[in-house]
Amino acid sequence: MTRLEDYQSPDPIAWCPGCGNFGILKAWKGALVELGLRPENVLMVSGIGQAAKLPHYLRCNTFNGLHGRALPAATGAKIANHELVVVAEGGDGDGYAEGGNHFIHAMRRNVDLTYLVHNNQVYGLTKGQASPTSDRDMVTGTTPGGNPLCPERPLALAVAGGCSFVARGYVGEMEHLRELMVKAVRNKGFSLLEILQPCVSFNKTNTYDWYKERVEKLDEGSYDPTDREVAFRQASEWGDRIPIGIIYQSDRKTYEESVGLAGAPPLVRRTGPETGELGRIWDQFF
């Protein structure tokens, strides 16, 4: 039996008042309780950024590594002990800019990880610079004449990359977000859950009000997330309507199945080789 208190961390929270991250943290704890997971069996791996501080604010195993490198560290940890529930987590700058290459290859690799990306379309920790998802022409500290780059559409990239689970949640829809978190963890394979999150300090455009007018839940009864072409259109949509929900799902062989880890003891519990066993290795060199 897991209770919310099991996940309480004594660590003082260092986010701005009103930050969307508080809602994400609350939904995430709720999801962990619903999943019935024990803190000692969960490993959260994060990079650097405001979002990447989240693992400190709940009780579980944590590896708070380098900016942009949450996915490789999470991949290594999961390969070492695939009995752990491993969740990578961070923001849009961390995951889509610094860690962009890892994101693409994590989808190909399809290790059974959940990747939570808080997308607030701006850099928070470094105080308000353009991110890969910032709107074109957005004025920030590093783009005083307006952002000259077109924004990345990470979910479209994920559908194109054959990601096994692609979803988007919004922190203003807490219950829906918590359900998506539960489904993302339950999916076998690499699961991307992007979470739209207003930044109250540095993004004056994409506010709670702005999102409220635009986010639209995909109808679970009628929407078929296995249709890749339809999913691609939904994933690309951004503007007057922003779809949230499970956008794409494909049943792919996991990395663990491909390399013979699934059903086998994790690497951390394997022992040997014994001296006699290793002695045979010289035969090929005589």
């Binding site: 590896f63 070492a80 290859h105 080789p273």
Partner: protein
């Protein structure tokens, strides 16, 4: 015959096999190396290869002797030409035997070589039905010139081609017999290994530095390897990949070295013994991750197979120019060790030691190889598995874990040694928290000045523990008037040069390090206090080891013999250079 071996020998020969990339230079040297090994000879093979898949000029050079040899010789006794270019490149300078196709015509320039024209391809087509079997003809012909037996080669062909069907195997064997007979009839000079009798002793192995490192890792309980292909480190990954099922490993080709090192840190944090290997450029990409391992106190073994740089440099050649980089790479201050094996045997034991140290001190440990050490094949007894170090990990005992209330574990507990006992995530009612930010004992972010001071102190305490684990250099003899100062893969050439000079009556010795950081300096300080002169020998352009030595001791070694053209030293070359320096 070359006289570069360490003592009077009955046999010390060098064969160079040259040809275009893709012609099978490696196939001939591989077959011949083992055919010589199995007759009881000590074999040392190194490769001089261009960075291309077809064309150009590559050679492999085999030195075989009845005493141990660990460096190439300068003089080539037999040149096997797989293409005409090889003949033209060396016919002037060479005074050994040249095996070449008669269709390429006679000598165009001067030279003292003996010619042995043999139609390698024609024999291959006639006897084996396949021109590619010219490689087998060449290997067999070389054995005839040496005056050695063909039988080990016939056995090897069986082992190599047995699975490819009778036609291929019998074709190769027919080619071997024909090549051997043709060379025996046509070659009139003295057989270079005539009178050689196999010395007593157990069976020996022929193994590359890369294979020795990979087996050292397997023997240390390796579970996970991740890397990005880069010459000359790729051979380690490919060897481990070939053993993954047998030893229960996972091998993952990462999208880049940044990913590889972060995967490795993640896997090691979770508790799997993990290895990454790369060359200088890849290591440059890994540097932030190495600092991460230092800060999170995660065991990490990194092999750097050096090649000439800066940037892409000479990708397939050798150099020792990453020493100061490896000794200092990574932002901030954290403990590390750098081991630089001198031979394949040391590559095996020092890779094992690297895991021991990384586990014990929870910090990055480097094994510094180079193209010469890693790609060359070395002869020795099978490495003794009984000499391996035990698991160095410092873990919380079962009783200590039992006594701990749930979720009370502190990953970074302050201790006398600086080492905090580990537990692995997911194995108890505890959670394990690691952080790249400065952190509390619990592993959470802090900005407290007091905690910062304590944590810096804790990490650096491990450096003094590590320093106590380092082996002193090899010193030979104890009381020489002058010493060479060297490190890593130059050992074979240095040792041979010192012995040659001593035979000539020079009172010179060597001080040679295989464990280079933290550096043990007592021996060199004592030598200087006795009034001994020093000359540094390094495969780089700026004398990096001499600079490290000065940094650690204040001693300046101004006489330096440096080679930085991507090629390894030979002993003859060193004797000339040392005599010049001593005269200066």
């Amino acid at each position: 015959m070359t006289a570069e071996a360490t003592r009077k020998t009955a046999c010390d020969v060098t064969l160079r096999i040259g040809g275009e990339a893709g012609q099978g230079v490696n196939v001939v040297s591989g077959l011949l190396g083992k055919a010589l090994l199995r007759q009881g000879l000590h074999v040392f093979t190194h490769h001089d290869v261009m960075s291309r898949i077809r064309g150009g000029h590559n050679f492999s050079q085999i030195r075989a002797s009845d005493v141990p040899v660990m460096a190439p010789a300068e003089r080539v006794d037999i040149l096997v030409c797989l293409d005409e270019n090889t003949l033209r490149l060396y016919e002037e300078e060479l005074d050994g035997v040249i095996i070449h196709d008669p269709d390429w015509g006679g000598p165009r320039k001067g030279g003292k070589s003996k010619r042995l024209p043999l139609s390698l391809e024609k024999i291959a087509k006639e006897k084996g039905g396949d021109a590619r079997m010219a490689n087998t003809v060449a290997a067999a012909a070389s054995l005839a010139v040496l005056g050695l037996s063909l039988d080990p080669l016939l056995d090897l062909l069986g082992e190599t081609f047995g699975s490819k069907g009778d036609k291929v195997l019998e074709g190769n064997r027919a080619c071997a017999r024909a090549g051997f007979a043709a060379a025996k009839d046509a070659f009139e000079g003295p057989r270079l290994c005539a009178g050689f009798e196999a010395p007593p002793g157990g069976k020996r192995i022929l193994i590359t530095g890369s294979e020795a490192m990979a087996i050292g890792a397997l023997a240390s309980g390796l579970r996970f390897y991740t890397g990005y292909p880069m010459s000359p480190a790729t051979a380690i990954m490919e060897f481990l990949a070939s053993k993954k099922d047998e030893y229960g490993l996972v091998i993952e080709q990462a999208e880049d070295e940044i990913s590889a090192v972060n995967m490795a840190v993640g896997a090691s944090f979770a508790g799997a013994r993990t290895l990454v290997a790369t060359s200088g450029g890849g290591l440059a990409l890994m540097v932030e991750g190495i600092s991460l391992a230092g800060m999170t106190e995660t065991p990490l073994v990194i092999i750097d197979c050096q090649r000439p740089a800066p940037a892409t440099g000479l990708p397939t050649r050798t150099e020792q120019a990453d020493l100061l980089f490896v000794a200092h790479c990574g932002h901030g201050e954290f403990p590390r060790a750098v081991l630089a094996p001198s031979t394949a045997e040391e590559a095996f034991y020092l890779t094992n030691k690297a895991f021991y140290l990384a586990d014990k001190y929870q910090t990055p440990v480097f094994v510094l190889g180079d193209q010469f050490l890693n790609d060359s094949s070395w002869t020795g007894e099978p490495f003794g598995l009984d000499r391996l170090l035990a698991d160095g990990s410092v873990r919380l005992s079962d009783a200590e874990l039992e006594a701990l209330s749930p979720y009370a574990y502190k990953r970074y507990t302050l201790t006398e040694s600086g080492i905090s006992p580990l537990i692995l995530p997911g194995t108890s009612r505890q959670v394990v928290c690691a952080d790249s930010d400065e952190h509390t004992e619990e592993g959470h972010i802090t900005e407290s000045a007091e905690v910062r001071r304590a944590m810096v102190g804790k990490r650096l305490k491990k450096a003094s523990g590590l320093a106590g684990e380092m082996a002193p250099p090899a010193v030979y003899p104890e009381d020489a008037a002058a010493y060479t100062v060297s490190w890593g893969s130059t050992f074979g050439a240095v040792r041979e040069a010192v012995r040659l000079l001593r035979d000539k009556g020079l009172d010179i010795g060597y001080i040679h390090w295989s464990e280079v950081f933290p550096l043990r300096t007592e021996a060199v300080i004592q030598a200087v206090e006795r009034g001994a002169e020093l000359v540094a020998i390094e495969n780089n352009a700026t004398g990096q080891f001499a600079r490290l030595l000065r940094m650690e001791t204040g001693l300046a070694v101004d006489r330096r013999i440096l080679r930085f053209d991507g090629r390894p030293f030979t002993a003859r070359e060193l004797t000339r250079e040392i005599e010049k320096k001593r005269g200066s």
